[in-house]
Symmetry: D2
Subunit: 344 residues, 4 copies
Amino acid sequence: MSFNTFGKLYRFTTWGESHGPAIGCVIDGCPPNIKINEKDIQKDLDKRKPGQSKFTTQRKEMDKVQILSGIFEGKTTGTPISMIIYNKDMRSRDYETIKNKFRPGHADYTYFKKYGIRDYRGGGRQSARETASRVAAGAIAKTHLGLLGCDLSKWNNRQIRKNPFFCPDKSSVKLWEKYLLSVRKSGSSCGAIIELRASGVPIGLGAPIYSKLDADIASALMSINAVKGVNIGSGMNSAFLSGVQNSDEIIKKGKKTIFKSNNAGGILGGISSGQDIIASFAVKPTSSILQSRKTIDKFGKNTKISVKGRHDPCVGIRAVPIGEAMLSCVLLDHYLMNKAQCGN
Amino acid sequence: MSFNTFGKLYRFTTWGESHGPAIGCVIDGCPPNIKINEKDIQKDLDKRKPGQSKFTTQRKEMDKVQILSGIFEGKTTGTPISMIIYNKDMRSRDYETIKNKFRPGHADYTYFKKYGIRDYRGGGRQSARETASRVAAGAIAKTHLGLLGCDLSKWNNRQIRKNPFFCPDKSSVKLWEKYLLSVRKSGSSCGAIIELRASGVPIGLGAPIYSKLDADIASALMSINAVKGVNIGSGMNSAFLSGVQNSDEIIKKGKKTIFKSNNAGGILGGISSGQDIIASFAVKPTSSILQSRKTIDKFGKNTKISVKGRHDPCVGIRAVPIGEAMLSCVLLDHYLMNKAQCGN
Amino acid sequence: MSFNTFGKLYRFTTWGESHGPAIGCVIDGCPPNIKINEKDIQKDLDKRKPGQSKFTTQRKEMDKVQILSGIFEGKTTGTPISMIIYNKDMRSRDYETIKNKFRPGHADYTYFKKYGIRDYRGGGRQSARETASRVAAGAIAKTHLGLLGCDLSKWNNRQIRKNPFFCPDKSSVKLWEKYLLSVRKSGSSCGAIIELRASGVPIGLGAPIYSKLDADIASALMSINAVKGVNIGSGMNSAFLSGVQNSDEIIKKGKKTIFKSNNAGGILGGISSGQDIIASFAVKPTSSILQSRKTIDKFGKNTKISVKGRHDPCVGIRAVPIGEAMLSCVLLDHYLMNKAQCGN
Amino acid sequence: MSFNTFGKLYRFTTWGESHGPAIGCVIDGCPPNIKINEKDIQKDLDKRKPGQSKFTTQRKEMDKVQILSGIFEGKTTGTPISMIIYNKDMRSRDYETIKNKFRPGHADYTYFKKYGIRDYRGGGRQSARETASRVAAGAIAKTHLGLLGCDLSKWNNRQIRKNPFFCPDKSSVKLWEKYLLSVRKSGSSCGAIIELRASGVPIGLGAPIYSKLDADIASALMSINAVKGVNIGSGMNSAFLSGVQNSDEIIKKGKKTIFKSNNAGGILGGISSGQDIIASFAVKPTSSILQSRKTIDKFGKNTKISVKGRHDPCVGIRAVPIGEAMLSCVLLDHYLMNKAQCGN
């Protein structure tokens, strides 16, 4: 059993290898009559695409998306939306030297052991290149969420889109830049923690018990390459709060319901409460690094590995639009689920 | 759309309210001809059941499980296994005073807003009582995993089962005891972090990309009541490691493959690597507390709430067998999925 | 992989063996705040229950349904509805003589070959007793469909509920009675064709392409014990019509859309057209017959079999309420699916 | 909720409109290391492609398939297989005259009513052009089934592939030819009944109760454009057999298990018995006909319609490879499901 499909009602299936002819996705279940602008999708893809600054991989891909079905005269028809992105800047020869070796901490070991066959060129299907498809699916979800008043980026002050790190604090940008340059220079890599917020999410999204909104967000974020931890609201820290501190008191001011804090991250019992949804996730440092590490090869022999290719020193940067995309898809999916069972 | 079913091939559906006549679950997809001993299931349920020490709720439930189908002459037949647990010790009147009020940080607010109807008695379906069903489903999964050499409790040194906190460190038990008594006395509650380990998990479990082993574990653990964060291996901490530190080097010693560290928590690219699976999760402090908190009622009016019922001061204790059960179910599910696509 | 769950949004899972302690089902995804009357469910179960006339099996079962969860103060809460029916009149000794023999045309052969274990008592899980659970699930679906104006029984003139065969033609009842008595006397059995109609089904139900309304009806009806063929509208006969004859012309009369015929059975392109849904299905003759037939036993030896138990000479009679139940569940499921994607 | 995905473990998702730039499918869950020959897929597509004889539509499409992912060095890798077929011979202007009218008996009425938007060019997504994707998915399933000894075409004597009607009886070919020419000349169309047989299917395939092998075959065949009825074995006729006639007696001859008849069509209790699987289905006459028919337009006004485009006078001819493809996919899917739960 294989799972390249995400979602329940708003579902997308991704396909494609890093160095194959193309990658793409098929969205099924999108409501009809939604105006789709190919430029909006492209704008989100541009945030993720490689080679945009010296802090990400130098592979040059235009990541130009093409819609092949499901749109008629600029609107969704309710049928599957197929999108394709052709791969352009592959240098498969970069991978010849590690073709039989496993990168410690990398999925090439487990994929080979599971499937007994390895597309070593650029990591094949394990490559984070697959995430471009998610961003495309997320862009369409965001369009629809926007119509519902739900906004993933309200929290983002203007700073966020103005620096290559999506950092909301201007004063930190210089420090991050310096740090990342040193990481790259040392032939190593580093991890990151990313926080996502969504405003305007209606109360009532979430399908208890095994598709709780937070369970689905956790699964969605954990499915992103290199992610090792997910928090909702206070997350792991909630273990250190007392019950009194942790309870987000509720008061009514006129017609408004106000929560005095948001330790819950906008989710109670797996259902959205109307507060901002807050989710954060940690990505581990890139496992393709220049420094030499001990490993074994396909034939079970001891060897050493040093990876030269063009890799992100910190995948956390490009993980921002991917996280946004996954959260958008989860929210739209749950919006539709809630509408089916509890909608008017 | 509602999701009271967990799993893909080894699937279970739970039902029942805290103060209804009974709770239960139906397991579908269990392989046939597995010897099932009702006593083994009961043993796991006993670890979770309430009223066992002064550190958990004082509700007295025997949690006696009864198997209604799917077993013939002591063996599974491959058809659905229905299990039922009757509720005995309900005191619904305890809930009369909060029947129209929402507990801050509790799901009674979101359930009411979603469904427009509230079974206030003991939290209804939001109650952690539902988790007894998961433990029963997990116990059967563990039986089968045991036959495969996969053991969730190998790591557990003898200490773990010997104290009410499932604490592996004998010297901490006294401290924890003292701490918990003070929490209860103050009319508040506290959270906890629980770590799970599974040994002997075969290489190759995990269904990339949207049902990665870690994504499914994250979803499974996040679906447990009060859980707010999930880590795999180094988890959120991996953001603070360098690429060199984080890469788990591999060496071959004779026929054995040895990893020099386990930051990955036994999972690479969403697929098990043969190392121990390590997952941890945080539970927030119980939201039903004695101390008075501001809230609103069903009619949108400001009020105060102080919850008297019989509640766990720390749900983290009883969360241990529940986490074990969920991890067992995920592992068996992925074992069957892998067998279908890549098995011999 | 095992499938004891039916439906996508309105889902039910059935469990239980013919001679186990009980059978039952769990409904997940029912909309909240629907008034449920246990008596209405019982009324439908009574239509299916055995031992009501000399034309069906003489096993006496009250088929008294008990609701264990999901209902609060007479209304659905949106959480799982668990229903249980205890088995009372089992005579397992009746099956001792055929315990190791396979009934030709019966599923006991394939179940044994698939699972390697056999619950021979009353057919175990293969028994049509499982269908009582479907009828219970269907009764709740019908309650909700009724609120939507959709009626499965409008077509049924008063005759239908007045004779043991659900026959709309009074003059045929005597003939059928005579025929069935002769079948039983000969120690054989007979099959039947059942036609179902639903009026008031809204336009637009159906999820193209692989969950078309007719595809789901076909699957639902074919899943009933002994069913071998399914027709929608003109069904197999449509192969004998010309394109001109087959096209159901459309005219507008005032505000009304009128179709001049209904060869389509109310479904075009897998989507309901607003016409009556017409589906028919054939059940084969019961395979448990008194007359001696050649077969083999569990050990692969040639033998003969003559089945004495209490069996229906024609399962077609009791198949009527089961077909109704399955069609009701499919219609409600698609109503919810359509609401999620295309509803206002 | 929308369903453009078929299957449970061997799953494919199709996308694309008749007159869009391309159509295609993504297969998920294919076992790894299966040798795939693009020519074999093309061969099956050639059987279905339009414009091959005067008895099918004159639209000229090469239906050249291109594999975009999931194959490495000629073998499946276990990751999604994306296939694309570009549309070449579209004449959208043919549809200008019926752009606002509904063809009686055609899905353009229901699609418009459901989605509120219409891609009128060539029927858009309702077009049977979608079935090319199924044939591609079926071709890969057949490759794998072949390795298992299961053969969909064993029954087919040499005649079948030698005439444009896939007719096993040489003497009928002339008659059919004459009949079809007269149908076309009259500006009408006709239906057909197609029978499928698969030999070598292992015992034990089928997932009771709601994914029985016959229920899934019924759903798969009913999902094909224009299909209105499905029979398994004796099908609707089994209603006219006595229990004695219908029971397929079993005898053992040496090591061989022999069934004396095959009314069951190789399926008992939803599980394959080892006999040939026999399934037949009826397609209605094409609804796009030249003769004038009464209908209404998008705005609810009475009008007449006469469809000129290039349509098949009998879609039954091209339905043969499509039925084969669907049956292949169902069989492989159930093979994998059975392996997961009951395999060694």
